[in-house]
């Protein structure tokens, strides 16, 4: 009898445990181990790890996050993909590498491409950066767009407002055009007060070229000629030395002269330090600037961090006609600098279903929303819900700061004429050439036209070396143009 009682109790307990486990594993990936790879943390890797814990609890699967230094990540992924090994189930990579990876990636399951969570992803990611030749091959897990940051206290100071209007003839406010941006920079150039007009990255190897692209996008991302900013999408001839780009570079050089001394050695880290340290009246860059500057532990200007979209222009260079086109209103071309980390599943993975499920969890509104407001994850907003939920940001920003910050992020990624970053095989060969010539132009060793002519010549040579037809096909795909 005692044995019977014990036996039946054990059965009941086992039944409970079993059903509890089933309830906990939804869907049940018990025994499945996913290997995910990305760059060495904390940025991006910590987001993968945080999500891994939650996913493991939810599905009973396991995620092993393998990190490689930035310089080793590309070769590790590319060799595993090209050799056909199933080394990784999930890869988190820089969007610029997409052209080399897409042939080896599995397509996102159709059920992930519908519903509220799908619609919640900002269109520029959902319709452009995640898509390659009409197929969704990756999922954005980080948003990257350049925005504008300014000091509310300086801009709202009555004396500043009066003096600015007297000098320039219009109201002091976040700039509509890059010309106004330079006016503002000039106005606040006050070295005797340890205050400078602006802060941007100018250092070779310090994210410099993305800042230059942000300037140039306003003059080269023609609304009627999509995908023509960097190359002629018909011939793959470099466009980087056309008058629009030259104007962008001239203004970028002027910005350098209105930035703190030695700003030529600024990478993005120094831009954030300068703005948060109260040394710059305004700056441009990724969303990190606003978050860092709003944090009283890191910043002298917390509570006074205003945000807006990048300035634009009412004139855009038309490469087809070879003329400047004048527009009735300012055309904003917020630049998707870098473009945001992508997560994808290689076709060789034996756990594709589980891997996509993990990506779905990682990028779900709740998990990604928390990552976006957690310092050190490197995740910036890329969902509409990231920028609409003010409560999510209330610990970081004041109400006005949050509204402006999230408004700028949201308007930028949803802008009609948003400018996509270049994504090409051999991306860093192109950008290295550009960095060298930019540095020469910034140091006054070459004129803007000379520097960009040199870049164009070398870009065309690289295109020929890598195969013009291949490069053209990749470029068109990256810009969402049909092949």
């Amino acid at each position: 009898m005692k044995k019977l009682l014990l036996g039946s109790t054990a059965l009941i307990v086992a039944g409970f445990v079993g059903s509890a486990a089933e309830a906990a594993c939804d869907p049940d990936y018990s025994g499945v181990t996913l290997t995910a790879t990305t760059q060495t943390g904390p940025y991006i890797a910590s987001a993968l790890q945080i999500a891994a814990k939650g996913w493991e609890e939810k599905t009973c699967g396991t995620v092993k996050v393998v990190e490689f230094p930035w310089s080793e990540l590309y070769p590790k992924i590319v060799t595993s993909l090209t050799s056909g090994e199933d080394t990784f189930d999930v890869i988190a990579f820089a969007p610029a590498w997409a052209p080399d990876f897409t042939a080896f990636l599995s397509e996102m399951p159709a059920e992930m491409q519908e519903g509220a969570d799908w619609e919640d992803i900002a269109p520029v990611y959902r319709e452009a950066l995640m898509v390659w030749n009409g197929k969704v091959l990756s999922q954005t897990m980080d948003g990257d767009v350049h925005t504008y940051t300014y000091r509310i206290d300086l801009f709202e100071d009555e004396a500043n407002k009066t003096a600015f209007k007297e000098k320039y003839g219009y109201d002091l406010a976040p700039p509509e055009t890059w010309a106004q941006y330079l006016d503002i920079a000039e106005f606040f150039q006050r070295p005797d007060e340890s205050l400078w007009g602006t802060a941007e990255a100018f250092r070779r190897g310090g994210q410099q070229f993305w800042f230059f692209f942000s300037h140039a996008a306003a003059y080269t991302n023609h609304p009627d000629n999509p995908g023509s900013m960097f190359f002629d999408p018909e011939t793959m001839d470099a466009q980087i030395n056309n008058p629009g780009w030259v104007r962008g570079l001239e203004e970028y050089i002027k910005s350098a002269k209105l930035a703190p001394p030695n700003a030529l050695n600024f990478s993005f880290g120094e831009v954030n330090a300068a703005f948060a340290g109260g040394q710059a009246a305004q700056s441009i860059g990724w969303g990190d600037t606003g978050v860092i500057a709003a944090d009283p532990k890191q910043s002298k200007v917390s509570g006074n961090v205003g945000s807006a979209t990048l300035p634009g222009s009412d004139e855009v260079w038309n490469y087809k006609t070879g003329e400047w086109d004048k527009f009735d209103k300012i055309v904003r071309s917020p630049f998707m600098a870098f473009g945001g980390w992508q997560a994808a599943v290689p076709s060789t993975s034996r756990n594709q279903e589980a891997a996509w499920n993990y990506i779905q969890y990682l990028t779900s509104p709740e998990v990604s929303g928390n990552a976006a407001v957690t310092g050190g994850t490197g995740v910036n907003p890329y969902r509409v819900s990231h920028t609409s939920d003010l409560d999510l940001w209330s610990d970081i920003f004041s109400e006005r700061e949050a509204k402006e910050y999230l408004g700028a992020q949201n308007e930028s990624v949803q802008a009609e004429n948003v400018a996509l970053d270049m994504r090409l095989p051999g991306y860093f060969s192109y950008t290295e050439v550009l960095e060298i010539e930019l540095s020469k132009a910034l140091a006054g060793e070459a004129s803007p036209q000379e520097a960009l002519d040199a870049v164009a010549e070398q870009w065309n040579a690289l295109t020929d070396e890598f195969g013009r037809d291949n490069q053209l096909a990749a470029y068109r795909a990256s810009m969402g143009l049909p092949n």
Partner: protein, 291 residues
Amino acid sequence: MMRQDPAKHYFIWPALLVVLVVTIFPLVYSLTTSFMSLRLVPPLPSRFIGFDNYTSLLANPRFWHVAGTTSLIAFTAVALQYVIGFAVALALNSRVPGEGVFRVGFLIPMLVAPVAVALIARQVLNPTMGPLNEFMTLLGFPNLPFLTQTAWALGAIIAVEVWQWTPFVILMLLAGLQTLPNDVYEAAELENATPWQQFWGITFPMLLPISVAVVFIRLIESYKIIDTVFVMTGGGPGISTETLTLFAYQEGFKKFNLGYTSALSFLLLIFITIIGLVYLAILRPYLEKHK
């Protein structure tokens, strides 16, 4: 007479295999790669191109510019390290009070990782937040473009190299000085030789062998400089502070142009070997003379 014990094979062959795998194979593999067109990005099929990578490099003005910059940094920094190091070693050898503290103090820079040293230097030379420019401004001088104008940037890199590696020269020369026999100096003093005469007649010649070795080691090490430059200037402005190793890094780890990078590495090896041979050939007569 050679022993015919077959047991020797159990010890010799594994050791030889280890040497082959660890040392010779990577070298041969790298040499082979230098004759190939091998790019990881974009992943083009590799092909044999003979000496094309080498001729392309030798025809590339950037290579010669970078080689010139590296030579300038290496020769200037090592010359300053040697002069300053010798002077400090002589001072420490004179049994000054607190010599032990000085000795430890002077050695600290050498123990710090070059990346950390470069980061500290970058902060010290920061125009708005760095103490050096703040001090200069206090004295009424303008902010100086330490890391953004070619001449200043090269000077800053050389200064950091000198600061970090002079202790190595001090250490080696001090060890050499402490082995010099006292009786030679006593004899010189009996002959009323001045300290200056004693230095040029006794100390310098007797330390010549160790000086040659120290300068040789430092010169080779200086030619491989990358971390300091990478952190302080990134090779800019333009390519004006770029060094050979940084150039190789850019080609290898940014552009993943492996064939070209291997050729560049072998050219660097040849470059350093030639400099070493010339250096030793020039000094050989002096070394023979003071043997």
